[in-house]
Subunit: 403 residues, 2 copies
């Protein structure tokens, strides 16, 4: 039997323990080895938990126990998670995590340590929750030059936008619903403002294009500025508003990445990814387009991705997985405003002003629209071109259109 330790026993950590117990037989068959939880690191005791006898408070017990070969980090955040992960890897233990913040911020460094120690640092659960995405990219699509990846990477914001689209809810009403149904945290800033999506597109970008991209290199806009009227204008144009993280190659060794709300065509599969579900689109030069869909968060989906990594780590004690990328270099991440697209603009400017700046545009209207404003779709242009055209205008919303 292989013994593992779980650090942190919140939603994901307790889910991991449950999945390991519940599916013990099939896991043992797939790992060619039984897997059991020896320690759970947690500050408080859990006297009523079936796992009460495994709770410990001192990390060094795990670090020093040679029987522990795999450590599951579910603490989240950077401080303790970073310290403990590093120490486990240094001690020759493989580490599995769902901590996207840590991978997006320190992934390159931690993978380098894992490589040196000939152990694994695996993080399938850090992007797309239970959706298999990291392994498909690194293994199944290995024969492709990937040129673009984008998707709906955050369940909370997708739930809110779905409520706004389907029931005409305002952002505030939809956020309240998300909270009432347990789909938004007490402080939902990380989700709402796009930081969570940003970390995920950093990780996907590193895997697809081979170099680390740090969160601060990725311009990030969330959905707090999306209004009911934006949703309605989009609908009348045949589009839905979705928050996308997107990364694409812009040259031989350059990429660009950003997070922002987009108008996406109603006929696209991604536009039908609703509620808390996630969907990720990958473009490769051989495969064309592939799409991955599933629960992007939640206790059991995320735990199942963590446990799949644990199985993989157990199967590969002697054969390190080549999950690997280089560090970023100056000039690697280019300005996303150089990327052309059509744009949706909602503005309080006059028809004359709009005509002077844009020439002929495609106006969008609907019966209940605010008579004091216009909304339209532009021709294709870069972000810089758009900014110079709307300079001085009273602009209320600007989103890219993805056809």
């Amino acid at each position: 039997m292989v013994k593992i330790a779980i650090l942190g026993f919140g939603t994901v950590g307790s889910g991991v323990a449950e999945v390991i117990e519940e599916n013990a037989d099939s896991i043992a068959r797939r790992a060619a080895n039984e897997i059991g939880v020896k320690y759970i690191l947690k500050r408080k005791q859990l006297p009523d938990s079936p796992f009460a006898d495994k709770i410990i408070h001192d990390f060094s017990i795990i670090e020093k126990d040679p029987e522990i070969q795999v450590m599951v980090e579910c603490i989240g955040g950077l401080d303790a998670a970073y310290d403990y992960t590093k120490r486990c890897l240094m001690a020759g233990k493989s580490v599995v995590t769902s901590n996207k913040e840590l991978v997006a911020t320190k992934g390159h460094e931690l993978i380098a340590i894992a490589k040196e120690k000939n152990v694994n640092y695996l993080f399938e659960a850090s992007v797309g929750g239970g959706i298999p995405i990291i392994r498909p990219i690194t293994q199944c699509l290995a024969a492709n030059e990937i040129d673009e990846i984008y998707g709906i990477l955050n369940g909370t914001t997708n739930y809110i936008l779905t409520k706004m689209i389907q029931f005409g809810a305002s952002f505030e009403q939809a956020l309240k619903q998300a909270r009432d149904n347990g789909f938004a945290e007490k402080d939902p800033t990380d989700d709402i403002e796009g930081h969570d999506s940003c970390r995920k597109i950093c990780i996907l970008s590193a895997l697809c294009f081979g170099r680390h991209v740090y969160p601060h290199q990725v311009p990030t806009r969330g959905i707090s500025g999306v209004t009911r009227s934006d949703v309605e204008y989009a609908r009348h144009l045949g589009y839905k508003i979705k928050l996308l993280g997107r990364a694409l190659r812009t040259g031989k060794d350059t990429i660009t990445a950003y997070v922002a709300p987009h108008l996406i065509n109603k006929t696209s599969l991604l536009s039908n990814v609703d509620g808390v579900m996630n969907g990720i689109v990958v473009h490769g030069n051989a495969i064309g387009e592939a799409i991955f869909y599933g629960a992007g968060a939640g206790k059991l989906p995320t735990a199942s991705a963590v446990v799949a990594d644990v199985i993989d780590a157990v199967k590969h004690f002697k054969a390190r997985k080549y999950l690997d990328w280089e560090d970023s270099v100056p000039g690697y991440v280019t300005d996303s405003d150089e990327l052309p697209s059509r744009w949706y603009v909602r503005t309080g400017a006059s028809l004359e002003e709009i005509g002077r700046a844009f020439g002929n545009v495609k106006f969008i209207s609907y019966p209940e629209a605010d008579p004091g404003e216009y909304a339209f779709a532009t021709r294709e242009m870069t972000g810089h071109q758009l900014k110079s055209l709307i300079n001085g205008m009273e602009v209320r919303s600007v989103f890219r259109i993805l056809d």
Copy 2:
């Protein structure tokens, strides 16, 4: 450099050679080793091909060359493909294939030989073309008990049905279009009658549930019986007709599997998988629902899946992948007619006959419908129950409804 041999140089075989050449750099990075084609086994010479100098006609050269560590089998069919695959595995070489007929028929035996010889037999390209599906099931979803898998597994039939749905084409017109556009073979029987989908659901079933399922154990109906009026009735009920392969657990160590046209709800993601694209839905006890979408056939997508397996084989010379299942046992595959669902029925029977047999049903109508027939959706019942109710009726079409 790792040297490989390609057997067969049709669409997939030549695609494999092209992808290996085109993406050589990224492949070498991912495999941690350069990969080159040493031999191509083909009956005819190809004097004008850039690969002309690699063509050989005698398989035993490959079999006996210790430098060849991986053989790519793209011959198709059973006879020579089976013989050569077996001999390569026996000679200690890993084999990669896109040959679903061979895997569905002899997979258990060939995997057992690979296991004994400590080499790999890999076949990601045999299902879903370029869509990553086999590895996600066996690795990423390893922590799940999978209870069901189904999907649109054949591009030719999906192209034909899409033309019928979108343009009101008849089956014959749509088949002609598929042929004219290179999406149907000269003899399209294997696709049209569901045999191709059958082989694929056999392979998926073995991977998900752990035992071989042979094609003759899977009741298989194709789309040649689907008419324009079926498409229209379905549309007016809010559904689309799609050919699905489906396999699900029916007990602790029993499953059922079948291939047949279904009415699927227009709001489902799968109903928007159109043209030659494929989509596969997996249900697991931890992840819930996951969907995989992409090009199910075509030269480069399929070749990219083959090459991904080659990379994997090269990376795992010393660590055999656990792609493995048991043989079938008597009673393992249960009668699919015991599976309940709602049904779509189109019949020349009278209202009275229908009422006598079914009681209240949901009739479907549209203005141009044939006045001499009725179409309706039943309540949930097994295939056996349905058969006894329609016994003696003049029935024109019967399909399951998947909600």
